[in-house]
Each structure stands twice: as C-alpha cells, then as structure tokens.
C-alpha cells in the first residue's frame, strides 16, 4: 500500500485542476503498440471481477441478440389470464393484460442494451472529439468548450433530458439523441485532462523532436494512449444510458412500440402490479438493470485500473 491519493487526484483532475504528475510514470508504456493492448487484455482477464462482469454482459447481449429464438412468447401478445404467478409456463408470471413477463424481459434486454450501447458509443465519439480538440487547440477554443461542458454538467441532466424527450416525442432514436446530446461532457473533460497529461510526457516530446506534426501526435500518440481509458468509461456509460432510458420510459416518455426494461417497469406501475401480487413483474426488470450495472462496473473499473498505472498502486 502506498500513498494512495489517487481518488482525490482523479477527482481534482476531473474538476480541471492541475495536479502535479510524476512525468516518468508512464515512461514504460510503449506508444500504441499492439503488445500493450494484449498486455492490458491479459491483465484484465486475470481479474476475477472483470471476468464476472464480462460474463454478465455477454449473457445479456446474447439474450438480447437471440431474443426472437429464446423468448417463449411474443412480448406484446395477450395470452390469457392477467396477474398470473410465476409458473413453469410463465417463468415470471403474466402482466395486467395477460402478457408473458419473461418474454418481455428477454426482449427488454435487446432494447435496453441497444439504447445503452448506442448512447455509450455516441458519448465516447463526441467526448473524444471535443476533449482532444480542447486539449490540442488554441486556449480560447479550449476555454469555450470547457465552459460549455461546465454548463451541461451543472444543469441537472435528468430534468433536462425529461423535458427535451417530452418535447421531441416518443421514439427510440429521439431518446438516444437526447441522452447522447447531454451525456458527453464528462467524457470530454476526462479525455481533455488525460490528453493534457499525456502531452507532458517525454515520449511526446521525443515524437515532436523527431518531427511529428500536431495531427500525428494527436492521433497516433495521444489517442492510442487514451483509448483504454475511453473504452473503460464507455463501458460505464452503457449503464447510465440504460438507466436514463429506463427513467424516461418509466415516466411514460419512452417508445411505446419497444419493450425496454423501463417500459416493463412502467407497465407494472400503471398496471397495478404492486396491489395484485405481481412481485416478479416488478422485481425482474429492475434486477436486470442492476445486474447490467454490476457487470459494467466490474469490467469498466478493472480496465480503468489496469490501463491507468497511477490507479494501480492500491
């Protein structure tokens, strides 16, 4: 155990403060080499947590991808009696309209993970672009972009998302667009501060000495060094996408033609599951969301720790 001031440092860095760095820390990491990727992947797979997280995520991704083949019934089809208790025929019982909850959960994985995945991808793309732009261009551009981030971070996100989603109307792409539009500032800030710190390292100086231009330094040296961090945070962004989508759907702002986990919770709320013994109907979708959260946290934080030597000294 060493002086582990890392969380505070990370927090400070996130808030834009300049934290003293030992510039030789990352000297050994070979820039963008394939070797380093393999090294990270192997190290990640040696962590029990990461394997558990990956297993959970893969299981849900498979469940969502093969939903048409796995799900016993059509999630929207009215099959019979409402509020049936879990049984061998309906593993999680039926909802207020007599639809199979288990099938809804399976299809829900597809919708929820699709939204979470696309949101995470968009957030990562916008975040990396803005962050790199901010770190490498003129201080004025940097200042403007960072103030923009501040504003978007400071206005509570969920109310803003609710408002815009309500105005745009109920569609799955509208929801994705809103979540991506308000989700990127954290990523941009992180990318910026990390890029700034990478810029200070000796190997960047070395590259500059050997005649590399700004573009080359940005894309071939800074970006590859950032990627593990970006990937880790994109994985963590999946769950926030899933939860935000669920919140919107729960408030009745979701896409009614898509059965996401949030929609299932929404239907269980308005369908009176609570007062009709539908405990499985209420519990299952939220449990799945939490499991996804567990999986992303395990995998994302492990990649974060392994790819970021400063965090590794715990």
């Amino acid at each position: 155990m060493r002086f582990g001031k890392t969380p505070r440092r990370a927090l400070l860095r996130e808030r834009g403060a300049t934290v003293r760095q030992d510039s030789d820390e990352n000297l050994s990491s070979v820039v963008g080499s394939r070797h380093r990727w393999v090294e990270i992947a192997v190290a990640v797979m040696h962590e029990k947590r990461a394997v558990a997280g990956l297993t959970i995520l893969l299981a849900f991704v498979l469940m969502g991808s093969f939903a048409p083949f796995i799900s016993p019934y059509d999630p929207f089809r009215l099959l019979g009696k409402p509020y049936l208790q879990p049984s061998s025929q309906h593993i999680l019982g039926t909802d207020s309209l007599g639809r199979d909850v288990f099938s809804q959960i399976i299809w829900g994985a597809r919708v929820s993970l699709f939204v979470g995945g696309v949101v995470a991808l968009s957030v990562a793309t916008i975040g990396v672009t803005v962050g790199l732009l901010s770190a490498t261009s003129h201080p004025i551009v940097d200042e403007i972009l960072m103030r923009l981030c501040d504003i978007l971070i400071i206005i509570p996100k969920l109310p803003l998302t609710i408002f815009v989603a309500a105005v745009l109307g109920r569609g799955i792409w509208n929801i994705i667009a809103v979540l991506a539009a308000f989700g990127w500032p954290q990523m941009a800030r992180m990318v910026r501060s990390e890029a700034l710190s990478i810029k200070q390292r000796p190997y960047v100086d070395a590259a500059r000495m050997s005649g590399a231009g700004q573009l080359r330094i940005t894309f071939q040296i800074i970006l590859p060094n950032l990627l593990p961090l970006v990937i880790a945070n994109a994985i963590l962004a999946v769950i926030s996408g899933v939860i935000s989508e669920a919140s919107l759907s729960f408030l009745g702002l979701g896409d009614p033609s898509q059965m996401s986990w949030g929609t299932v919770i929404y239907f269980s709320m308005i369908g009176g599951a609570i007062y009709n013994g539908g405990w499985a109907w209420v519990a299952a979708p939220g449990f799945c969301i939490s499991l996804i959260g567990l999986g992303t946290t395990f995998l994302g934080s492990t990649i974060n720790v392994i790819s970021n030597p400063r965090l590794r000294r715990r």
């Binding site: 155990m1 060493r2 002086f3 582990g4 001031k5 890392t6 969380p7 505070r8 927090l11 400070l12 808030r15 403060a17 300049t18 103030r147 923009l148 501040d150 504003i151 971070i153 400071i154 206005i155 509570p156 996100k157 969920l158 109310p159 803003l160 609710i162 408002f163 309500a166 105005v167 769950i239 926030s240 939860i243 669920a246 919140s247 729960f250 408030l251 949030g262 919770i265 269980s268 709320m269 609570i274 007062y275 405990w279 209420v282 519990a283 979708p285 939220g286 969301i289 939490s290 499991l291 996804i292 959260g293 567990l294 992303t296 946290t297 395990f298 715990r314």
Partner: protein, 329 residues
Amino acid sequence: MISARYIIRRTMNSLVTYAAALALIFAIPRLIPGSPEELMASSYRLPGEVAAELRHRFGLDQPLTTQFLKYISNVILKFPPDFGISYSYYPAPVWQVVTTYLPWTLFLLTLSSVVTAALGLLLGVLSAWKRGSVVETLVSGVSMFLLSTPYFWIAMILIMVFGVYLPIFPVAGAYTSTVIYDTPFRLDYIRDVLAHAALPVMSLVISSFASYTIIMRDNMVSTLGEDYITTAMAKGVKTRSIIWRHAARNAMLPVVTLFILRLGTILGGAIVTEAVFSYPGVGSLLFNAILNQDYPVVQGFFYVITVMVIIANYFADLLYIFMDPRVKY
C-alpha cells in the same frame, strides 16, 4: 494556500456558467417547434385574432433580441426573478408556484443527502477497517449492486413491501390531506410529515449511498496505509480513535466534494421518486408543467435548480481548499 487569483478565476467561471445557463433557459422553449400560443390555439381551437392577442400579451410578437433583453432584466434585476405567469396555475406568478413546491423537495433532498452520506461513510469506514473479511465482501457486493439501481425501481419495491405486505408507512403524498392543522408546529403533524417522507427518503438513500461507500472505502484503505497511522498504532492510540480521528477525518475530504457534486444527480432522482410517491415537490411540478406545456414554469424550475447547483459547486471548490491544505492552485 488559497490565492486571490484562484478565487477570482473561480468566481468568473461561475458567473460565465450562470450567464450561459440564463441564455440556455431562454432558448429552451424557443427551440421547440411550434410556439406555446400556437399550441394553445390549436388545442383550444382559438380563433386567429385571439391567438394574435395572446402572442401580443406574452410579448412573443417582439423581435428575439427585445424578448431576450426583457427576459434578462426581469430575471436578473428583479427580486424575486420574474418568469411571468404560469399557464396552468393561472394567474399565479411562476416564482410563487415554484417556491410553493420547492420546500418539499429541499426537505426530501436534505434529509436523504444527510442520511445517505452518513450511512455511506459508516459502511465505507467499516469495510475498509475490516478489509478482507466477510463484512467487507458483503458491503462491497451490496454497494456494487446498488450502485446502478434505478431510484424508481427501489421506490416501487418499497411501496410493494411497505404498502402491501407490511403497511407501516404511507405510500403517497407529503402529509395526510384529510386532516387540517391550525399550525404546522404540532407534534402529530411533524410525525405525519416524517412518516410520509420515510419511503421517498429510503428509496433515495438505498439507491445512492453506494457511491459514498465505495469512494470512502478506497480513500480509507489508502489513508490507513499512511505512515502517521502506523505511528499512531505504535504509540498505542485506541483503535476507535485511529479509525475516526486519524484516518476517517482525512479520508472524508473527497466525500465532502462528492456530497455537493451529487446534488444535481440526487435532484434528478428526487424528481422521478416524487413521481412514484405523488410527492408535492418541484419534480411533480416539472412533470406536470411539461405535460401541460407550461413553459414559464419549466424555465423557472431550471433557473432555480441551476442556480442552486452553481452556488453549491462554487462553495464546494472553495471549501475544499480550506479543508485540505495540501491542495494548491
């Protein structure tokens, strides 16, 4: 130590953020396709001249720059800030509407933040001290699981447990509306309000204490590895004193920042939670305002909460420097 330059810079940043937030709040309803009076006109089938009159009354027939200047002067120069008249609570001014609902949300927010932080800290310290034991595994496991549990889902589970199977707490509203009290300072009224707040606060606490626990544990583990802890142990300082006075106090620093930084997130959570419990706070207000396209109220809401968060963030940053002399700017 703290420098005047840093304070000035930080203040300027906050002011810029405030100004930009003002502009954004002005822009929000105007970015929406279809103006409010058109919506009103079409939904109530108003004749053309009435719609034009409405336009005129709301000042929407003036150029954008005039509207903007008027908005700025109404918001900044007046106290209370003037966001006009609410459409759905006509003719109450927006400020009055928002401040009627705000106390309930602040009450929920304060109560749940304090309980959340206390619980999170306790569990974090506990699991750091009992490192490697069953307690730690249990606390970390539960925290990791709860870390990304939706607020509203916890709320529904609580309603299910306490509303149906174990009816101890009321599941809706902020007080028993069938009883009218002559003064709010009566013991049975306070008890009633607390009972109504129990489930909303519990759902907020359960779904948000985990982040404190995890950060506190990590900090605590690193702090316990510091030399001065070893020194304290060697000196024979009591265990309890080492944990709380030597380690926890230092490990707590980032948690204080987290506490304030999370205000915005908890506020978002409170909004959804209020919807589940039909709690009469700004969350319910915002939701109804959105459904009724009551844009002045939406603007007032965003103004109030944004200003709150900006101020909280500003003081969090300054507080941090005072609390941790090791931080230099």
